[in-house]
């Protein structure tokens, strides 16, 4: 028994350095994924500390950062920040709200929700693992570790080990030796092109019109709701209620054909029934091809139409008026 315990201890102690060595030599399979390019998440996080006392904070996945154009809200007089990140689940929503809500101090929080985001996913955690944050490096690493442990997956732990090694050991060493150029990981000016996207200061990501986007073929899709995500959605709401911050849950539009393929809407309605909630998929007001660039995301034409409707809701139905006149608002945002 002692022998087995000693062997187990050796494995635990040697594991992390051995994994880094094996992974560097490509002697593990699958080879750990490491993206050494600028990530949208990094840009968003690099901006957060510039924003305080805003009118609206958007929180959610790509449906949030591709769905709410901060420029349009600015034109309507609202100061806003879009804290959406790739595939962000309620767990990450909670983590980011917890981290930034007291400095952002928003008057209204728009939680972009979708049944799809209530499923188990490793994508959002991977997006954070690949991102190299310039500020609060240690704190971010601990946050990443928390997210990783929440995935309850050994593969994800391996990914955390490897990405932490790349960000904190390998890359700095290579830079010092002059073999790796440092990369700008913050936005200069109001816009920045990142791959096929345009990152707009304030967290919105714009995609141009692509008329090749076809409707999703007819197929039955059943969503399996993850109780962990349901729990964290409640926690997000609790966090906002504890601070007396007004909030609303919004389901941004996806392709009408894709929406029609989901069959278990009733379960979702039960989950969401307890919250103030708006679903912009019903009635349909966008077109499968003209307003979307893929099944789940609007292009800038779709965003413009959707934001216009949502802003009129804020003004007319919610009676949510901007805190400052627009000229002052501009100063705050800048």
């Amino acid at each position: 028994m002692v022998k087995i315990l000693l062997l187990s201890m050796s494995v635990i102690l040697l594991y992390i350095p051995m994994y880094c060595i094996l992974a560097s030599l490509h002697l593990v399979c699958p080879i750990p994924v490491y993206h050494d390019e600028l990530r949208l998440t990094e840009l968003t996080m690099s901006e957060i500390s510039d924003y305080h006392d805003i009118d609206i904070l958007f929180v959610g996945s790509s449906q949030s950062y591709r769905g709410f154009d901060v420029r349009q809200f600015k034109e309507a007089g609202y100061s806003s920040f879009n804290m959406g990140t790739t595939s962000q689940r309620p767990y990450q929503n909670h983590l980011l709200l917890n981290k930034y809500i007291d400095s952002l101090r928003p008057r209204l929080v728009v939680l972009a929700v979708s049944p799809v985001l209530m499923q188990v996913s490793k994508e959002s955690t991977l997006d954070y693992l690949w991102s190299d944050f310039e500020k609060d490096k240690i704190q971010w690493e601990l946050d990443k570790l928390r997210m990783t442990l929440n995935c309850k997956s050994w593969y994800m732990f391996n990914m955390w080990v490897y990405n932490a090694y790349r960000h904190h050991v390998y890359n700095p060493l290579m830079r010092r030796m002059g073999k790796l150029q440092p990369m700008e990981r913050h936005i200069d000016g109001d816009e920045m092109i990142v791959g096929p996207d345009k990152y707009v200061r304030g967290g919105y990501v714009e995609r141009q019109v692509d008329l090749t986007c076809s409707p999703e073929p007819k197929k039955t899709k059943v969503i399996e709701y993850d109780s962990v995500q349901v729990y964290y959605m409640k926690q997000c709401v609790k966090l906002l209620e504890d601070r007396n911050i007004q909030y609303i849950l919004v389901e941004p539009p996806i392709q009408p054909s894709a929406y029609a393929n989901w069959v278990n809407h009733s379960e979702w309605e039960q989950i969401i029934a307890a919250y103030p909630y708006l679903n912009y998929n019903e009635p349909v007001f966008l077109n499968d091809t003209i307003d979307f660039y893929d099944n789940g995301h609007m292009n800038y034409i779709g965003v413009e139409k959707f934001n216009k409707i949502f802003i009129s809701y804020l003004k007319d139905s919610l009676q949510f008026v901007p805190n400052y006149p627009s000229e002052l608002n501009e100063e705050i945002c800048n």
Partner: protein, 496 residues
């Protein structure tokens, strides 16, 4: 619960500690034994119920009926021996209870596994819609395994090979013993049941040996099978656009995937059983080092092959009958073996394919030509042996293409895709990402070749230094953890 899951990582040590804590309590041996067996049943039901607790009722029902039928068969036989009633009637009663149990067990299997298949095929033949008649029931994990185990008990009692047990707890433990419950080895009552009827004592060497075997099983499952699966699944999903060489590589990798998956499971099961002082039968004996198909079938899924041999083939007359009957018997067991794997024509075609390969050997009396280990006493095989191994391996690969395909048409298209000029090209579809997996695959083949005379690959006796052996185990454990795939991959044989 999966052997390669985090839940099992906690489950096994807890069960192990409680089991042996019971074993070392100061109570009388008989009570200790009953408590240990009851705990095995409880742990096994938790293990199985983790997947779907509703199907526990099915296992309990199967176990109870088989246990009861064993007692009834034996009572009828005893009455016959003592001449208490009319001989013919008593023989009839004995046969009746056996038949009733066989019909019941196979009936359950048929409903859960084959009903929808037969109804659909009936509809296809007669051109009628059978949609409303389909049951669409979930296939209970491991149903074919524990059903066959239960059947073997009543047949063995009927044949007088084993005395029926009155100890219902021991019997339930025999049917539901968690290491081999969902994917075998399919144990015989003659081997496993007596072990549940006698006191067990902790043996350090046996437990250490079991741990080593578990480690080797995990290596085969996680490092080899799961990583091959990533490549294989991708190629099979896009097989109509892949080159011949890529298709061939994927077929070869599937051959190792299924071996790593299933023999890995068996190693973990046998190793785990050793931790509890139970010895399970060997299920794989280096099948890919076989020199002909007959040898392959003596080394692949031994517990199922011998089951069909003992309970189907030999009662049909085996090979001691006329030539036509030998042909019939061979086809019967291979087709049944194929059909046992699942309700699909591809499995039946796979069985028929192997029957065709096996038939010439048995008709020419060459089916028992190779019963020893290949290259016994030598490091390397002769050129002739190497050629035989390669040929047998390639025949097996073709079989696995049929097995893996969703339809026979797809299998045919896949094989035609291989027989294309593009077979001369370099395989694609992410082979670079597979380099590490292939390296470990080669490592596995070398280790299994060196230790082909042992019970499992990691039974290292050549390395004398304890430190070196420990370093090897640590390295292996690290490689296993470092190669965990992104998504949990189920064991392939769970579906059978």
């Amino acid at each position: 619960m999966l052997f390669n899951s985090i839940e099992y990582l906690f489950f096994l040590p807890i069960v192990f500690l409680i089991y042996w804590a019971i074993g070392y309590t100061r109570i009388n041996d008989s009570l200790k034994l009953r408590m240990q067996n009851a705990f095995v049943v409880l742990a096994s039901y938790v293990f199985y119920g983790w997947w779907d607790w509703r199907f526990l009722l099915l296992i309990a029902f199967t176990s109870f009926c088989s246990w009861g039928s064993g007692l009834l068969i034996a009572r009828s036989a005893k009455n016959n021996a003592e001449g208490l009633r009319g001989g013919q009637n008593v023989l009839f009663a004995s046969k009746f209870w056996l038949t009733a149990n066989i019909v019941l067990n196979l009936g359950i299997l048929a409903v859960f596994k084959y009903y929808d298949f037969f109804v659909t095929e009936f509809g296809n033949i007669f051109g009628v819609s059978t949609d409303s008649l389909l049951l669409r029931i979930i296939l209970p994990v491991g149903i074919s395994f524990y059903t066959f185990q239960a059947l073997s008990y009543s047949i063995d009692v009927y044949r007088g090979n084993i005395k029926p047990t009155k100890d219902i707890i021991a019997f339930f433990a025999f049917i539901s013993f968690f290491p081999q419950l969902v994917a075998g080895p399919i144990e015989r009552a003659t081997n496993l049941l007596p072990q549940f009827l006698q006191n067990r004592h902790f043996n350090y060497n046996q437990a250490a040996d079991g741990t080593r075997q578990i480690l080797w099983g995990l290596f085969k499952k996680i490092v080899i099978a799961d990583n091959c699966a990533t490549y294989v699944d991708h190629v099979w999903a896009t097989y109509d656009t892949q080159s011949g060489s890529t298709l061939l590589l994927a077929a070869i990798l599937f051959t190792f995937q299924i071996y790593g998956d299933f023999s890995g499971y068996s190693d973990i099961a046998i190793g785990t059983a050793k931790l509890f002082g139970i010895k399970l039968m060997r299920n794989f004996n280096n099948p890919y080092f076989s020199r002909d198909i007959a040898e392959f079938w003596r080394r692949w899924h031994i517990s199922l092959t011998t089951w069909f041999r003992d309970y189907v083939y030999i009662p049909l007359g085996g090979s001691r009958v006329g030539k036509w009957k030998i042909v019939r018997n061979t086809f019967v067991i291979f087709l049944l073996s194929g059909f046992w794997h699942g309700a699909n024509w591809t499995f039946i075609a796979w069985g028929a394919y192997h029957a065709v390969l096996f038939l010439p050997l048995i008709l020419l009396g060459m089916n028992r030509k190779y019963t020893n280990q290949v290259a016994e006493g030598r490091w390397l095989p002769t050129w002739k042996e190497a050629g035989q191994i390669l040929l047998t391996f390639m025949l097996v690969v073709i079989g696995w293409i049929i097995f893996r395909a969703e339809t026979i048409g797809q299998a045919w298209e896949y094989i035609c895709g291989i027989c294309d000029m593009s077979i001369l090209s370099i395989p694609q579809a992410g082979t670079k990402k597979m380099m590490a997996a292939m390296l470990y695959l080669i490592m596995m083949i070398i280790i299994e070749w060196i230790n082909r005379g042992e019970q499992y690959g990691l039974e290292i006796k050549n390395v004398k230094s304890k430190t070196l052996r420990c370093a090897l185990y640590i390295l292996l454990a690290i490689i296993i953890l470092a190669c965990v795939p992104r998504d949990d991959v189920q064991f392939l044989y769970f579906q059978f």
